[in-house]
């Protein structure tokens, strides 16, 4: 019996998952009974036994617990994972769309005008390699609001891939297509919207997809710094609580949300793609 490639791949994935989880589960020894504690262990209140990487079974248990009630709110340090992810997504999307609103028009300008390209290039080259978190102190000082500062950090980190890809895509539009617009006497706005934008769209959306990936990476670090709410804060808070089960659970949540964001942009990419 020969099954299809995707089916075989799925099967192999499942095998790898089961084997990895099995090794992980077996390599975390069970907690010893409390009666046989040494003096040191008694001093530690049994914590030494507890302080180990939890087995996957515990993580799954926690995941079930958390996901069955994701939106509870028991005060600042005890919110459901759904609320935390919601905060993070809000910040990421706000900063991201602000960046898109600026990056795409400026990218167009740079792509269409060699003068603007040369004039703005040194600024972009200096600003682009700066770690977005390096802006945090300055943002906090100027904006004086932690929420807005984390949005600003997302803004500044997602602007570059979109800006550069838009400029690159616009500058690379085939001259033939621009000539088609010219021979049809299209004005510059019509040309930009009906010829250059669709021609450059695949490159622009690729930049947007890179940006959303970076924004989701950065938000976790930013929220660890800023604190209060969000999935990054959640990870750090659970670390302070020494609740490694929740830490592992939230790591997985971060991965899944990032994957979904990427998948959404992959869909957009498919929609604007064309074959020459």
């Amino acid at each position: 019996m020969v099954s299809s490639l995707p089916a075989r791949a799925l099967f192999l994935s499942a095998v790898i998952l089961v084997v990895t989880l099995g090794i992980w589960e077996l390599s975390t020894p069970a907690v010893k009974a409390a009666g046989e504690m040494t003096e040191y262990e008694m001093l530690m209140g049994g914590a030494d036994q507890e302080a180990r990487v939890p087995p996957p079974s515990q993580v799954l248990e926690r995941a079930w617990e958390e996901l069955s009630n994701p939106f509870y709110d028991n005060g600042p340090n005890d919110k459901g994972i759904g609320i935390q992810v919601g905060y993070s997504l809000f910040r990421v999307l706000t900063g991201y769309f602000l960046a898109a609103m600026i990056a795409i028009p400026i990218g167009f300008l740079i792509g269409m005008s060699p003068l603007m390209y040369r004039a703005l290039d040194p600024f972009i080259q200096v600003l682009r390699p700066i770690s977005p978190l390096a802006w945090m102190p300055l943002a906090l000082f100027i904006i004086k609001d932690s929420e807005a500062s984390s949005i600003f950090v997302i803004f500044i980190c997602s602007i570059w891939p979109m800006l550069i890809n838009t400029a690159f895509g616009v500058a690379g539009v085939r001259k033939d297509w621009v000539n088609v617009a010219r021979t049809h006497e299209l004005g510059s706005l019509r040309t930009a919207l009906t010829v250059i934008l669709p021609a450059a769209a695949p490159t622009i959306v690729t930049g947007m997809r890179i940006s959303i990936g970076i924004a989701w990476l950065v938000i976790v670090a930013a929220e660890m710094l800023v604190g209060g709410t969000g999935v990054g804060y959640y990870v750090w808070n659970e670390w302070n609580n020494l609740d490694l089960t929740s830490v592992i659970f939230s790591i997985l949540v971060i991965g899944v949300v990032g994957m979904l964001l990427d998948a959404a942009f992959a869909q957009v990419q498919r929609a604007v793609r064309y074959q020459e």
Partner: protein
């Protein structure tokens, strides 16, 4: 003498080269095209045919000289001059139909959606694209189909002058023949003025009223204007039996093989300002009959002008 529809006067294109002599692609190119005429231009690669076409389209500018169409100088691209490029230049994210409506909408911004669609369908049907194929993207169409869409788009905007830049260069011989027939059919019903670049001598004879022959570049010139007086309607199977066909064909082939190079080498080196000169009109189809000078049938604008670019002995053969 009333002015011809399209007048090209002393067109010259030079590219400045750093620290050396400028590269002159062509110079002092002058010719006329009458309304409703189908004119082909033939020359070797590098003689600047495509540049001349781009100047006519308004996409490029000449170093000196002027192009006048309908009494107005050509300064930029216009919907009055439709262009069909060799690589089709269809917008790949639009369907065949949308590529045509793109042109029609630009031409008639005041038309309703239905009017635009109806007009576009009419021209797509004219080139044989219907029954669902019009909704395909260019990448899903064969090369011949793509060029048909491109031709439909150009005809649909009903330009005063249609410029075809080697439209069949990338097609296989069979497809090329079919589309040539279609092009003649559409053209003969349209009174469209056409200027076309080609490398194919047979194609030029089949399609053109007149063929302009260019010498080799650099310093290329339009040396001759060959009148194709084979009666229309023409088709590929019958045209080869016309008594004038092979005379014309041999004349063209001989020009491309030998004289285009020879003429390029004997470029007159007078530095004085040259007057716009028209290429000599040649009628190879009548050469063997020993007919006298022009019989007055041709409307070729060059007849009453001096023909200094043609060798004297060649003139005798021609007339």
């Amino acid at each position: 003498m009333n002015n011809p529809f399209l007048q090209i006067d002393a067109l010259t294109k030079r590219y400045p080269s750093p620290g050396g002599e400028d590269l002159t692609v062509f110079e002092e190119v002058s010719f006329d095209i009458n309304k409703g005429e189908f004119v082909c231009i033939i020359g070797h690669s590098g003689c600047g045919k495509s540049t001349i076409m781009n100047v006519l389209a308004g996409l490029d500018t000449a170093t000196s000289g002027a192009v006048t169409m309908d009494g107005k100088e050509v300064v930029g691209p216009s919907l009055d001059r439709g262009v069909v490029f060799q690589n089709y230049s269809l917008l790949p994210w639009r369907s065949a139909l949308k590529n045509v409506t793109f042109g029609v909408r630009a031409r008639h911004p005041d038309w309703s959606k239905e009017q635009i669609l109806e007009h576009s369908y009419k021209y797509l049907e004219m080139v044989g694209l219907s029954g669902g194929a019009e909704h395909r993207k260019p990448s899903q169409l064969s090369g011949g189909m793509r060029q048909r869409v491109s031709i439909a788009r150009a005809f649909a905007i009903q330009p005063k002058l249609l410029l075809l830049d080697e439209p069949f260069g990338a097609l296989d011989a069979l497809t090329r023949g079919t589309i040539q027939d279609e092009l003649i059919r559409i053209w003969s019903g349209s009174e469209q003025t056409v200027f076309m670049i080609t490398h194919d001598v047979d194609e030029a004879i089949l399609l053109a009223d007149r063929i302009l022959l260019m010498t080799n570049g650099p310093y290329a010139r339009v040396a001759e204007s060959v009148v194709i007086d084979i009666p229309r309607p023409r088709n590929r199977a019958e045209i080869i039996h016309d008594p004038g066909y092979y005379k014309i064909r041999n004349h063209l082939v001989e020009f491309l093989a030998l004289r285009s190079k020879a003429l390029a080498e004997e470029r007159p080196d007078d530095d004085g300002p040259m007057k716009p000169r028209r290429p000599a009109t040649v009628r190879p189809a009548h050469s063997a009959e020993g007919e006298g000078p022009e019989d007055g049938l041709g409307e070729g604008p060059g007849e009453d002008r001096p023909a200094p670019l043609v060798e004297p002995e060649r003139m005798s053969l021609v007339q």
